[in-house]
């Protein structure tokens, strides 16, 4: 029995290693998803949010898109889709994302600086439902 206990301890140790990796891994790679309104409200309540990587789903404000094809600097404003009020500028360095357009819904990942500028590392365009939704589509 003594021996078996030793093996249980070995198993527990291994489980502990995996558990440790999971806990630390989660801490470092969790990304919160906010709407622009939520993000701004959070960052006012708790300034440490400015350090955090977040994902934000918003709408590209028409007339604000500026893109330099030579330097690949992209700037545009996003606005809260639901309220249509909270908005902030986004800066991104890279080629214009496919199907990126004014008025489109996008998800930007990055962080909101304390100056109120969102430094994006990725900009994804939402292309609605890519599959199915056939019926509405065909009947429309």
């Amino acid at each position: 029995m003594q021996k078996q206990r030793k093996f249980v301890a070995g198993g527990v140790l291994l489980a502990g290693v995996v558990g440790y990796l999971m806990v630390t891994g989660m801490r470092d790679s969790m990304v919160y998803y906010y709407t622009p309104a939520e993000l701004v409200a959070k960052s006012i309540a708790d300034p440490s949010v400015h350090e955090l990587g977040v994902k934000v789903g918003g709408r590209v404000v028409p007339g604000t898109v500026r893109f330099d094809p030579q330097t690949l600097n992209l700037r545009f404003d996003v606005v809260d889709i639901a309220t249509g009020r909270t908005r902030f500028p986004v800066r991104y360095q890279g080629p214009l994302p496919d199907t990126f357009e004014e008025g489109r819904d996008v998800v930007v990942e990055g962080r909101l600086t304390s100056a109120g500028l969102f430094e994006a590392t990725t900009v994804l365009t939402k292309c609605g439902s890519r599959y199915e939704a056939v019926e509405e589509d065909l009947q429309a």
Partner: protein
Amino acid sequence: MTGIGEVALWIALLVSAWGMAMAFVGGRVDRGDLVLAGERSILAVFGLLVVSSGAIIAAFLGNEYRYNYVAGYSNRELSVFYKVTGLWAGQTGSLVFWALLLALFSSLVVLQNRQRNREFMPYVAGTLLGVLLFFLVVIVAASNPFKLLDFTPLDGRGLNPQLQNYWMTIHPPTLYLGFTAFTIPFAFAVSALLSGRLDTRWITTTRRWTLLAWFFLTNGIIFGMMWAYVELGWGGWWFWDPVENASVLPWLTGTAFLHSVMIQEKRGMLKMWNVLLILGTFLLSIFATFLTRSGLIESVHSFAQNLTIAWIFLGFLSFLILLSAGLVWWRRDRLQSDNQLESFVSREAAFIGNNLLFIGAMFAILWGTMFPLISEGITGQKISVGPPFFDRVNVPIGLLLLALLGIGPVIAWRKATARNLRRNLAVPVGVSLTVGAILWVTGVRHVYALLTFALGAFVLATIVTEFWKGTRARARIEGENAALALVHMVQRNRRRYGGYIVHVGLVVGFMGFAGKAFYVERQAAIRPGESIEVRSPFGHGYRLTYQDMSAYPATNMTKLIASVRVERDGVRVGTLTAEKRSYRQREEVASEVGIRRAWNEDLYLILAGIDNPNGVLDGTNRQPLATFRVLVNPLVPWIWAGGFIMAVGTLIALWSTSEPGRRGPPAQARQPAASRPRRPELVEA
């Protein structure tokens, strides 16, 4: 004509319900005629599903857009090729396809076991029909491929351009074959639990099915990686996408099972563990199907959300979990080990370590995949868990597994002596340290990559030693030359040596993964005539010169193709093209990448952006500024080579002589390990 397909589905549903009842009752009251009726129901269901699937394909080929499904995944322009694959292009069809493959495998089991395994067959047939019944219920209740639109559109919506790739014919079917084939060992396990016949027979008799399922699942996953690599245009092959993760979960438990059954066969241990593993593997296959079909989690594969399907699947999964747990609890007395673990330094312990690591990886991936859903459900806060989490957890686990991969095959059963370890590990450890030192000297400082190569060398050295020792011994005893001795040795024990070859493939694949640590990326916006230069980690200098941009307008899409001249170390080696396609109808843009493959590294070219594309189309923009991303992906070809080696190894193991008659007497006649001759590798048949 195609209406017959829907009728066939309904009949199949009734037949499977009836057959399931017959098989279970027949098994309970010991009536062979009822059992036979159950088994024949399986054949009938297969026939009906062939009719139904044929009707779906016929509807695609006949452009019958009054069917919602056909209208959603096809149009008149679609090539015949993709009309046939329409069977599994979308949710409803793919469920029929799933059921079809399961019915095919189930029929093979019935035909295979007309004489054998009669004591298992009643509940095996009943279980298989139960699973078929479930899928048929889902299909007719929530996902009918023959659902009609209330009008007939002139044309369909067409197939998602990213699915219009030849991998479409290969990747999904292979993966489904893997998922469905795991139902066979599951059914035998349930039958063994119900009938109480819990010796190793249910395992040995399904060994080839398990391996076959593993073979398909492994290849399905690798094919998916190849597809993602050429199609998604991100320069990677694995994204920790929820659906990718879901396919790996049953692979991990299935792989654990393939190893742990050896302990039960040799030492009569881990009986309950093995039952749990195969039940879990099947549950995870169903879970993977559920995750994809329900569309609950966003993914590159995402199908539309279908909550009806989600609830039916959740109900079925809960039922299966309760059933499995109940059966195992009921039979817990018969699942006791015959032996106990004796030492940490033994093959049993190495196998158990391997199993715990596989299960640990499985839980970690499951957690990371489900966390966003759980978090949103409980706190209402959307949180995503990105690739860093999965890498962070799985890379160390992978390295530990790699270490065990080297130790496992050479360490003795029961309790290894210091002499056993010294004799078998001295050379491999030396090789490993040498490789590590050489890489260090040549400037490799990436810890995980160094460990991967050093441990990989260790594993390869142990395997080569095993082959070498076995061949030499056989050559001496049988008086054969080395080549003949090698062939005969592998032939005599295909399962073992096939397994080693799978390990070699895995090591090569792992080294390919490690290559990711050294990838190089450059991005620049340039005009025709200008160049981008990159230096690869192998020291090659690539110079890519943008030559021109051509436009190909067509009715449904416009292609813009950039052609780029490639020079390597100053020598012209060819031209790469990279495209951007805009699909009008679907408002989608897809990229086609250009890849130059060499044995050690891929040059990967992405056309990331074009300034004023409309000007290119109407001819006013003659020198279009284009943004290119150039990547050098070192060792990616090794991943595919590793996958190929694994497939070869699995096929060798699959060929193994699994009929009890040919394999020699089963477990009870085996000698206890202690009284075995000193060189067990020569006598284990």
